[in-house]
């Protein structure tokens, strides 16, 4: 195995789940997200020597995945039930919070993408801007609007995790 292959394999193993989560949060369907992310990684490998030099190759994969048509993986996919990943009917035991994901999916597309990259890939403003091909100031604006909108969602506003977080105690 060559060095490029080793590097890419390491990158794939380390970032594939985070990329899958990021895209799932935007598109809302785990199967579609997996196809899209697979396409993103395949294109990353096709241009690995260039992509590997980016500040966030994972951000690039997610951006490509979100822009890709599911033209190659999808038609060939044999439908295999993966009930534990069906977000619409998420088993509470799976830990998936369908209400919050639904709230994210109600955001405008660009706001969803910003939230997704920031939350699941932990990109900062600059890296998010590079991944999405927009200005840092635009990222900040989208994030601000998205956070404001999500704060109004009951699933976020009244969520037990948020209410119990020390910084959110209002003393009342």
């Amino acid at each position: 195995m060559g060095q490029d292959q080793r590097d890419f394999t390491e990158f794939y193993e380390a970032s594939r789940d985070a990329c899958l989560n990021a895209v799932t949060a935007v598109v809302g369907d785990r199967h579609t997200a997996e196809d899209l992310v697979a396409e993103g990684f395949a294109r990353a490998w096709a241009s690995w020597r260039k992509v590997s030099q980016y500040s966030s190759p994972a951000g690039w994969v997610v951006r490509v995945a979100l822009n890709a048509g599911v033209s190659w993986w999808r038609p060939r996919r044999r439908e295999v039930p993966l009930g534990d990943h069906d977000l619409a009917t998420a088993d509470p035991a799976s830990g998936v919070d369908a209400a919050i994901l639904a709230a994210i999916r109600r955001l405008p597309r660009r706001q969803r993408e910003v939230i997704s990259l920031r939350a699941f890939l932990d990109l900062d403003t600059q890296a998010t801007a590079e991944a999405l091909g927009i200005a840092p100031g635009t990222v900040t604006a989208h994030l601000s609007r998205a956070v404001t909108a999500l704060r109004l969602e009951p699933a976020v506003r009244d969520g037990p995790t948020l209410a119990n977080f020390p910084d959110n105690h209002d003393g009342g």
Binding site: Q3, A42, A46, W73, V80, I115, T161, L162, D167
Partner: protein
């Protein structure tokens, strides 16, 4: 912690535990085909004459996964030779006593326009695919024999019935039914059903190369048994 961090954390916690199950070998195989097509398109628009010539490509497959356009010719490495025949089939011959490089075979097959996944130490199969209703214990649950897609020939062209235990080897050691080391696989890629690809799995212990057909998007891979049993007739993996 500010509002942004709170909301981002809630978003992150809303989707725990998802796992991307597609193996990296599959990703890289598709990536190679992407690069392949892009390179081919550039060749057609830029240097059509050069791209149209089918050439021997011995030594062209270098490190780093660089892949040239589909080439109908001969690809020769130390461990194998892949020859594209005039009738559209391809002939794969292994060379005994040589170190086998799965990546080189993968690139060669893809370069010849053959959809294939090559693994080392891994047995890959699609769930529920079986040649018989109740395959013997330890046999590949794959559509064997892949009639019309792969055939096995002895020197001189005499065919051998393909079974899961008729595999190419680079060594005469190990168990299983002995096939002459100079036996060849003839591949007819035109008959490979849509959505499927060939799988070649190299088992280092006995230098055997197993083969089969898998669903491109629904298969699993597991390690071969560490040591083939003397007289073993199957390539069973650890499940």
């Amino acid at each position: 912690m500010n509002d942004d961090d709170d909301v981002l954390r809630r978003a992150r916690e809303a989707l725990p535990g998802s796992h991307m199950g597609i193996p990296v070998e599959k990703i890289m195989a598709v990536g190679r085909s992407r690069r392949h097509r892009r390179f081919a398109a550039l060749s057609v628009t830029g240097t059509a004459a050069a791209a149209a010539v089918a050439v021997g490509v011995a030594g062209v497959l270098g490190a780093g996964g660089h892949v040239a356009p589909v080439t109908r010719g001969t690809i020769r490495t130390a461990a194998f030779t892949l020859v594209s025949n005039a009738n559209g089939t391809d002939t794969l011959t292994l060379t005994g006593g040589q170190a086998f490089n799965p990546g080189a075979l993968q690139r060669a097959l893809n370069k010849a326009g053959i959809r294939a996944l090559v693994t080392s130490g891994q047995l890959c199969r699609s769930p529920g695919w079986s040649a018989t209703a109740t395959p013997p214990p330890g046999f590949l649950p794959l559509p064997f024999p892949p009639n019309g897609i792969i055939s096995l020939q002895l020197p001189g062209g005499r065919p051998v019935a393909l079974t899961p235990w008729n595999v190419l080897r680079l060594s005469s050691s190990g168990g299983g039914r002995r096939i002459p080391l100079d036996a060849v696989l003839v591949i007819n890629p035109a008959t490979l059903p849509a959505g499927t690809e060939l799988w070649f799995g190299y088992r280092p212990d006995d230098q055997a190369l197993f083969n089969g057909v898998i669903d491109q998007n629904s298969y699993t891979c597991s390690p071969f048994r560490n040591k083939p049993n003397p007289g073993s007739t199957g390539p069973a993996g650890n499940s």
